[in-house]
Symmetry: C3
Subunit: 350 residues, 3 copies
């Protein structure tokens, strides 16, 4: 665990700020959050899943955050609240705030004279900010980042080291881009003509809303003609690929290594599993959950959970079973033949 | 949509350059391309897929590009041609040419004295060009790129920001490498000995032909002993992984997140779907299409389309059906037993 | 093949260093390793797989490395040893040693005054080494790398260009990180509350053991509270994603594009196939092999090989067979009904 926790807070202070009910001594002091398993007496842990009830019994935490059903599951000082995980997230954010920007541009940074950099912005070493780009107040641009010409980064954004933003992109307020993210590279637009691929110029932009976080090495391509759009509050994990002209609805979360093919539209509040895929030109409605390793090949109009992963098994069993897959249509045919035969027997007997 | 379109062209000018037949007023002026859906009167749109016929009826475009079958599907000024999508690509490339290089090396760039940089080359800030490297005339090397020692980049290439090329690689003419691309990292060569992995030095190179485009964060590993080869005209989308000693045949296109394992050879004019995989040491002939999320585990000798993706469904249905997969061999056995039983009945009755 | 091979070695010298038995002239000189197929007379090749026996017959190599069973399969000068591939790896490493560091920091590098940089360290152009970071003796930090505050890189490590290490991470001795690697980005920790995602601060670290190699554009996220741990001798290929709080056991190898979800623990000496996935919060015991494109959704307690990839076939066949998958539970039901019917017939007849 990294530093942090220099200052300590009483449960009373925490509840004054975030609500909830204290059971036990409200003067109990905590200086950091912890897992139940590794907690020390000066930390506060949480129980969000009954699976870890045993760990609650054994924890050395000074205090815990629990839901209403668990209010009596421990004798430790505790905060009872409706959503212990979200409560814990808030407490952790309070104890471990992001480091404020150290205003100013590093002397090595290359910031074009025409670029507008707001107040209180930190620009790291070897950053390049292109012509007519704009960086909003309070943002941090990490070492080695490149912000293309005319691109806009909203206030209070945070770009970690080695992020690349192409020209003409728009990044909202409070957006977090992790290292290796590439925003605005050309979409995969090619047309076959006379046995050669011709490049289709990608003249759309990437437009990213507010409060979006994008994980390391994720790529979001610019639109072919119109824009690629990531709406407010979207969370993308690492190594996600968003193709040209995709639109991701607000507050949708996409896990690592997933890929959304060109021109597909994903609704709001969707949860897209790791390494899953959505084929091109589809529409996924709001509140859809897609399981890991699932490929979506048709539009989805009904909220719900959708799955298409092959269930793993011991290789020897898999070999026997998977071999039959190639005969499945034939097997179904044979069952139909048997049914007919038996039906015919029955008729002939009656 | 990004800037562009300052200049306007008549349909007559366009047809003089690219062929095709004009229906309607040849003096119709267009300044930019557009989608049917969002076109304005000063733009030209295209119809390549009958699916969008409804949009053709409603478009506000000043002109459209259509195929012979659609020549009378609109009253708008139009260009009739055999391949509207390719024609559109050419028109867009004409209206939106790549920005020419701004010759010269940025003062911060570190270009080794022994490196040869051709005429009219643009070298961005914080670029590193190693000993005895060569950059062909007219190329653009974006900010933060690293070109290793003795590596060669052909003329008129374009490396966007933060591309890394290791030592001793060869990149052809007019190649486009998008941000985050890594060319020439060590292949995954390890040998187990006495419970420890020993590294196998990767002493081959990466050799990339002409007119290749490689998407953001794609990786192409150097060969273990001989070279990894990407032939002319290959197009790789984002986050593709090409392992050591692979050879990709000319004009093959590989969609995002696909991976080709070591020493496999992919033919010419193949189309490899997103997140698909080709296992190691295989040979795929020319003109093979591999569907998204498909794993190829045997060599393919016959052109055609190959698929192996699990069809998705509602999670509840998937759970019922997928559970049976683990009993599929047994189910086939039971069907065989039933068939025998019925055949025996038949024999005994006759 | 890249340079190398300036110096030549006799088989006698090689065997004196690495063991094995020489058959043929021990004074045979070799200057480089090669594949059987492309070997020249001044190179040594190897046969590790009987599949290439034909190539052994035809090779122009000056000498070969073979196993005991193949000792008489060629008349060429040869070294007989138990593990030809590992032996070859050692010989190649001997002939092609990594280039030693060129000590000193490039004048453009930004190394914080409080950072400790050991002796004989090479720091490339545009490198950033943060406050209180430590770089062990003999390491090479490639161009454009960023080493965060308080992070530690062990001695004799090698970071290729454009690697990013966040704050507070620990990298062991002799570790190799390829370009585009991101160590320590925030894990995907978000809590839904009142229709908004709240960020869970990621305050754990990444701790990487000794002799680990990590491929290009691979990402290893920092822990949410406790650490993400990669034990000694682990080898990760390109574009692998390791989520927060994962632990990878010593000497496990993970092929390209695989993803390990949060808090899962993978044992020692496992081999994880390309583009495979392990869901979150699972435990995989030692010596488990997971096939390519397989998703593991339950903990594995028994060593062995596990598979869950859909077998590919011609698209037309796939369409017929895959369509039946959605009726598989029903098909099983129908077979059961047939069995019952036949059993009833039998009873009524007896």
């Amino acid at each position: 665990m990294t530093g942090g926790g220099a200052k300590a807070y009483t449960l009373a202070e925490i509840v004054a700020r975030f609500g909830g009910e204290i059971l036990g001594d409200p003067r109990t002091c905590v200086a950091q959050i912890a897992t139940l398993e590794r907690a020390r007496p000066d930390t506060i842990a949480f129980l969000a899943n009954q699976r870890y009830l045993q760990q609650l019994k054994a924890t050395r935490a000074g205090a815990v955050i629990v839901g209403p059903a668990m209010r009596d599951a421990t004798a430790l000082p505790r905060i009872v609240c409706d959503n212990p995980y979200a409560y814990f997230a808030r407490v952790s954010g309070f104890i471990n705030p992001p480091r404020p920007p150290v205003p100013g541009a590093h002397q090595t940074a290359v910031v074009d004279d025409s670029a507008e950099v707001g107040g209180n912005v930190q620009v790291g070493p070897f950053v390049v900010i292109g012509r007519n780009a704009r960086i909003g107040a309070g943002s941090v641009i990490g070492a080695g980042c490149v912000v293309g010409e005319r691109s806009v980064v909203g206030p209070d954004a945070r770009l970690y080291g080695n992020v690349t933003i192409y020209d003409d992109c728009v990044i909202g307020d409070r957006v977090i881009l992790h290292s290796g993210v590439v925003i605005g590279a050309d979409g995969f637009g090619i047309a076959m003509d006379a046995d050669r691929w011709i490049k289709v110029p990608q003249i759309g932009r990437v437009v990213i809303g507010d409060d979006v976080e994008i994980g390391a090495n994720t790529t979001v391509d610019r639109g072919a003609i119109d824009d690629t759009v990531i709406e407010d509050g979207v969370k993308l994990d690492n190594q996600v690929q968003i193709a040209h002209n995709v639109r991701i609805g607000a507050h949708t979360a996409i896990a690592g290594c997933a890929g959304i093919a060109g021109s597909s539209r994903v609704g709001r509040y969707c949860r897209i599993g790791g390494a899953s895929g959505i084929a091109g030109h589809l529409t996924i409605t709001d509140n859809v959950e897609i399981s890991a390793h699932t490929l979506i090949t048709k539009s989805i109009e009904k909220p719900g959970t959708y799955t298409g992963a092959y269930p793993f098994e011991a290789n020897r069993d898999w070999r026997h079973n998977a071999a039959q897959l190639r005969h499945l249509a034939e097997l179904a045919e044979r069952v139909r033949a048997l049914e007919k035969q038996l039906a015919a027997q029955k008729r002939s007997r009656s």
